[in-house]
Symmetry: C2
Subunit: 197 residues, 2 copies
Amino acid sequence: MKLEYSHKLIIDNVSRFIDLTELEKQKYISLLTEIKVKKKAFLMQAGDITRFEYFITKGCLKVYTLDVDGAPHISMFAVEDYWTGDMASFITKQPSRYFIKAIEDSELLGISRANYDLLFQEIPKFERFYRILYQKSLISYIRRSNYGISLTAEERYIEFKKKYPHIVNRITQKDLAGYIGITPEFMSKIISKVNRM
Amino acid sequence: MKLEYSHKLIIDNVSRFIDLTELEKQKYISLLTEIKVKKKAFLMQAGDITRFEYFITKGCLKVYTLDVDGAPHISMFAVEDYWTGDMASFITKQPSRYFIKAIEDSELLGISRANYDLLFQEIPKFERFYRILYQKSLISYIRRSNYGISLTAEERYIEFKKKYPHIVNRITQKDLAGYIGITPEFMSKIISKVNRM
DNA sequence: TAAAAGTCTTAAACTAGTTCATTTTTTTTC
DNA sequence: GAAAAAAAATGAACTAGTTTAAGACTTTTA
């Protein structure tokens, strides 16, 4: 079976943790929805009940909330081969507090809540896939949940550059500040300081 | 089948997400190890390769790292009916950066890495249990990973009291400071301020 | 391709949280 | 139940990061 690029990408991603037969691959792909979103457009907004979990096949997006003062707090940048969405809203069917906005023209594959549930009935192996995917995400979020309180802003910036070299030059300094958790002004100071070192 | 208290607790916990037959329950329990740890004793220390994932049946423990200056950063307090451990070390078999120390005399059920792997072969339903358990943990860690950078220390303290009323009076102010990410001195100030309000 | 909008830089005054030092209170230990 | 150890409170001097404001540079849009 010849797969188109985006389908090959997601099958390769899934195949890191579980083996699928040709029939299962086709079944899985049939449960996905193709989505395109132009630069600056929203994939979802706060107040929405999230209908999909997303896999990015092309582009770059930011996931963020607005605090009481209207300042954005970016929780992740999602690029090719990443999974994103708002799992809390997707699972609980409660309105989301997150915005997801495209930083570049982007293409995604979405799985709806109904198809996500169906997937486990049709191909129980996916319980294992998601068990391992969530386990790996959990390991990185557990680590990250301490960053904000145990590292200085400068240390967090250096960590980000080391961990995400493929992302750092696709985003603005302002958005990076929103991720690191500081003002754009202080971000500017840190970057010029670190570059001088 | 009459279960002893600690086994009943863990079976009830697992049964929130999956249904087990009597035979499966017995099989599962046979894979667990009972562990007791006295107040102030370590369940594990940085440098160890974590042998178990733990379920607490009695007591209270703190999970923490030491930063370069030797200051403790507490990542969780674990009480009855909680799961804890260092998943990164457990999965990758690399040395841990965490300490787990009992705050009260505690009793736990541990599953070894070998039995964890075996469990999925013997009772594949557990892929689903862990998929859902990790999914729920992930939802709360995703939320928490933004707390450090988007809330003030006072707001984090108020959140903690609201979310963990059953824990707040079992731990010292000093340990709470280590969790909130501030000095014990500033914690003291915040608490007296919040109580005055 | 010009104007508009957004991003980046710099600097001075400010605030949340730290550090260090001392005293009081509570808990642990023998 | 006394002595020792640990935790909590308080205060003064300090630092990381914010706020506000203004000008320079880049990107977007018509």
